[in-house]
Structures are given as structure tokens and as C-alpha cells.
Amino acid sequence: MSAVHAPAAPATGWKSWITTTDHKRIGMLYFFTAFGFFLIGGIEALMIRLQLAQPDGRLVSADTYNQLFTMHGTTMVFLALMPLSAAFFNYIIPLQIGARDVAFPRLNAFSYWVFLLGGLFINASWFAGPLFHAGHLNVAPNGGWFGYANLTERQYSPGPNIDFWLLGLQVLGIASLAAGFNFIVTILNMRAPGMRMMRLPVFSWMTLVTQFLVITAFPVITVALVLLMFDRFFGTHFYLPAAGGDPLLWQHLFWLFGHPEVYILILPAMGIISEVLPTFARKPLFGYTVVVYSGVLIGFMGWGVWSHHMFSVGLGPIADSVFSGTTMLIAVPTGVKIFNWIATLWGGQIRGTTALHFAVGFIAMFVIGGLSGVMHASPPADLQQTDTYFVVAHIHYVLFGGTILGLFAGTYYWWPKMTGRLLSETLGKWHFWLIIIGMNLAFFPMHFIGLLGMPRRIYTYSRDLGPGIATLNLVSTVGAFLIAVALLVFIWNLWRTRTHGQPAGDDPWGGATLEWTIPSPPPPYNFDFIPTVVSRLPRWSTTQMRAIPEGSPEESLPHVPSGSIWPLVTALGLPVLACAPLTHTLWLAFVGAGLLFFGIYRWAFEPFEV
């Protein structure tokens, strides 16, 4: 019954990469592209910190500073954190569920290309000044990552900056939506035989919840952006009070998206550490069912808290109280997960790998971020905290201390599977300690800076602003640079282990889930035979590592699609279309739409078998 087959050698060359529909390749593309944008966002952060290191900073102008913090936020949220999570969705989900690829491989490729092109589009604004007769080089978005109206209206933001932002985000939204549909169907419909939903790895579960949040939340920001686009380009007054419009409509629409978005950012990382902790404690996740239900509950409840971002706008006591209550409630399922993770480690056979360090670091840092978050939940307290550095501290503890540390845990955990080589543990430990010290130096002082009265989004401050503010800012800047050093160590680790890394084998960690049953890196078709799953931890039994029972053999050689160019062609239509309003050039819209239609038609009628 066992088929004789030569392992299919993956095609090489740039043509194979631009036509790839292989989820593993797409995952790698996401990883490196997103990491690149992460570094760009980091440089933006370093410039911010250099400007703020001392009072009366003169490194950058106020306008450039506004661009820096806007692009830092926008880049980190949309171009770094989400796509880094997507890198793992892409690479790992099909492996964990026992599938050969995602449900719609070409749509998957399309999502990546749209992401890349959208990211390039929005970052082109750094150099596009001359094209718009701006008088200086950089016309990057400058209205904050949340773009509050009516600052973003044409009247107050006459340049192309906000146009880059609103057009770029609409393009990026399409990438996320497409991926959302893809992964929902993949996780629900392409599981290996025997993999019931309550046997699904937690990372896959959290990804599923995340994708539901994506497909419900992104349409709302799309509408918000479209209305802003109409205001800026077609003379409507959606957010303009003079015509009866209400700037708060923007805030509601944005945060209706924005709050689910932060759960989109954190749930995947929570899923990652729910895999890492059990593996390195040699112990199943404590309370799997509770962790899964908590994740689902967070997804639902995340829709009920959005106006806690608006406690200072005058919603009234009823609205304030309702959202305060819902916000405090959502801390419950989150807290439950923390206890479950700790209980997983308790009494386990701990192996202190780098991945585990990052996972434990996640727990500690996320708890700190969660505490400041709960403090925000009280409207009176929030009136002091909002719009100060206290919130910046909260954001960075949950997103850097949470999401980014979680992503690094995933990187050290799954890199061997993806590349066949282990990352250096020594360099990894250096990376970890430098970054955790760096991030605490960078962000902990911000709690105090904020409470002492330093507002967000100011390009400089006076020495008299408050006692110790200048010193704390300097400490924060030092911390930021320490983070940068840590990242250099990480990059060196990646580079060096390309050639000097220890070969990983199928299963360097003794993992419980299906991805560890296949070679590292996996062959194009992933599994020789689709496994049949009989438990939640397919590879762990009480005495030894369990071999997976072979499923029914399929064809002599599992079929792998040969790729397609049409996702890329279709994707190209979007930035071209976006350039039309940006440059006030109508014919570009026809070219862009034409490319879209052409690409879609060729895609639809191409013979393509998954």
C-alpha cells in the first residue's frame, strides 16, 4: 500500500515565488515582509524616542513627528503584527489540522500580494512629497493611527497624507478580509479525519476566533474610511458639524472596528503560547476547554466595549457606565487564561528553551498591560489617563509585551519546522533578556510620565512639564535602543543559523501536535498520508511518543497545484486603483479596475485543482 514516490522538489527561482500558492511559501513571504515593516516601524519608534529623549527636542519638525507616530502605529498594527501572525496562520494551521493546504490557495496568495502592495503604497508617502508639490519629501499620514475626524478632513489636512492613509488601509483591509474567509473555511472544513473541534490545537482555535473578528470588524472600518474618502474627495459632510455631521460618528465606527482589532492582535499570540507552554512543561494545557471557551467569549465580548476609547468625549453617564461594565467583564475570560497558563507550567517538567522564556515573558508582561487596561475601564480614572503616556504604556505592554513576545515565542518554536534548522539558544537567550529589559525600561516609565501629565502625540515638551518627566523620557529612550540591540541579535541569529544552525529533524521539541510528525521543512504536500486523529494531543501518550495511525493512502503522489500568476495580477489592480483618487487621475481608476477584472476573470476560468 505504501507508495513509492520521489519527494517533490519545490520549484525554485523568482517565477516560482510570484506564482506560489503553497501556504508554506506564502507564510515565509509574510514573515519576511512583515518583519521588514516591523523594522521600519521600529526605526520610526527610535526617531520618536530620540526626539523625546530630552525636552525641547529639535531632531524633527512637529509635522514630521506627527507622521512618525502615525506611521509607527499604522505600520506596527497593520503591516507588522497582523501579518506576522498571518505568517504563522499560513505556515502552521494546515499542518496542525492535517491538511495539504488552505481551502483557497490562490486567494491566500492574493492576500499576501495585496498586503505587500498596500504596505508599499502607504510607505511610499515618505518620499512622495515632490509628486504633490509639497515642499518637502515626506507626506506620510499624520493624523494618528486612528485618524480622528475632523482633523482628517480636507480643510484641516489639505495634503495627500491622509489620502495615503485612507486609501492604503482600504487596500490592506481587502487582504485581511480575504484571508479571514480563507482561514475560517480551512479550519472548519479541512481538518483531518478524527480532528473534532475540541481536539483542535489552541492556536488553530484562537486563529478561528480571530478570523471571525476580522470578517465582522473590517467592514465597519471600511465604511468609516469610505465616508472619510467621500468627505475628502467628493464634498460630502459625514463628519462635519456645520452640515449637521458628527465627528463622533468617525470615532464610533473606528472603534467598533478598533476594539475587535486589538483582540485580533492578541488572540493569535495567546494561541501560540498555549502551544509553547505545554510542550516545554511536558504537560497538556491546563483546562483546554476553558481556554478555548474563554477565547471565544473574548471574541464575542470584544464587540461590546468599544466606547471605552471614548470616555472623554461626553457620551453621558449611561453610556459610560455600560461600557465601563462591559470592559471590566472582559477582563474575566482573559484572566482565566492567565491562570490556566500558569497552571500548565505548575508541576511540569520545565525545559527552559528560548521559546519558553518568551512565553513566560508574555504572561508577565501581558498581566502588567492588563492591569493598566483594567484601570482604564473606570471612566473617572480614565479621564486622567486618556490621551497621556499612561495609555501608551498600556498599549505597549499588551502589544509588545504580549503580541510581540508571543510572536517571538512562536518564531523560536516553529522556525525549526519551517527551515529545518534550530535557532541558536544562546543568541536566543541574549535576545530575550535584552528585549525584556529594554521593553521594561522603555515602557514602564511611561506609566509615571503619563500620570505626571505628559500628553500623547506631542512632538516635544518643556523641562517644566513635570518633575522627573525629562529623566524618565531619557530612560525610556535608552530602553528603546536596547530593544533595537536585541533585534540585531535576533537578526544575527536568523542569519547565522541559515548555515550554522543545528538540523532540526521532524520533532526537535517532542511536540504533541501534528506539525511535528512531518519533516522539517515539510514536503510541498505536507503529509504522505493524511493522518487520522484520535485525541487532542495526537503524539503524546502516557508512556512514549505515539506514532500516528496512517490514514487511508491517497494517490501515488499527493497532488500539489503548480501555482498561478493571477492572484498577483489581480492584486496589482488595487494599488493602481488607489492611485487614481490620490493623484486625481481618473484614467488610473480604469486601468486599476481593468486589471482587477482581467485578473479575476483569468483566475476564475483557470484550470486549478487543489
Binding site: L188, P193, T216, L248, L249, W303, L315, A319
Partner: protein
């Protein structure tokens, strides 16, 4: 679960579709009637909401085959639909368009 046999669903015949089309047309006439006939204006909003909800449900259940298809599709559609309705209601309250005796 193991290999699941594809969900079987019975197809309503053309007669059923025609009957539903007739009902939809009648409901539309009723809606317009409620709009035009002054005696109904006191109950205009609830009547119209109910009539259009029935039309909505008929099209979704029968023309989109949701009644006969997998219950999961009902969840996939119904969940976000419910969410959209709740969001709309919340916004109406927050903007004072409807009030609890404000």
C-alpha cells in the same frame, strides 16, 4: 469527525418558489399600503419592520435555501446579522436617535 456525508437537502419545486414570489409581492403591496393609508400611521414603524422582516426571512430561508441547508450556514449568516442589528441599535441610542425617555 470522520468522513461526513454531504448534507442532503430537499429542493423545493418551482411551484413553491412561485408561491413565495406571490407572497413577497403581496407583502410589498401591504407595505406600500401601510405607507399610504393614513389609518395605519400609528403603527407604521412596527408594521413595516415586521412585514419587511417576513420578506427578508422568506428570501433567505427559501430562495437562499438556508432552511434546508446546514445549520452552520444559519450561524455564519445569523451571527453577523444579529451583530449588525445590535450595533445599529446601540448607535441609535448613542446618537439619541432613539431614547429611553431621554
Amino acid at each position: 469527525m470522520d468522513q461526513v456525508t454531504p448534507v442532503e437537502h430537499a429542493h423545493p419545486g418551482a411551484a413553491t418558489y412561485l408561491r413565495i414570489a406571490a407572497v413577497l409581492a403581496i407583502l410589498t403591496v401591504l407595505e406600500v399600503g401601510v405607507f399610504y393609508v393614513p389609518v395605519f400611521h400609528a403603527i407604521l414603524v412596527p408594521a413595516l419592520l415586521i412585514l419587511s422582516a417576513i420578506k427578508f426571512t422568506l428570501v433567505v430561508m427559501f430562495y437562499m435555501h438556508l432552511k434546508m441547508d446546514s445549520a452552520f450556514f444559519t450561524f455564519l449568516f445569523g451571527g453577523p446579522l444579529l451583530l449588525a442589528c445590535c450595533v445599529a441599535l446601540a448607535l441609535l441610542f448613542l446618537f439619541g436617535a432613539i431614547g429611553l425617555g431621554k
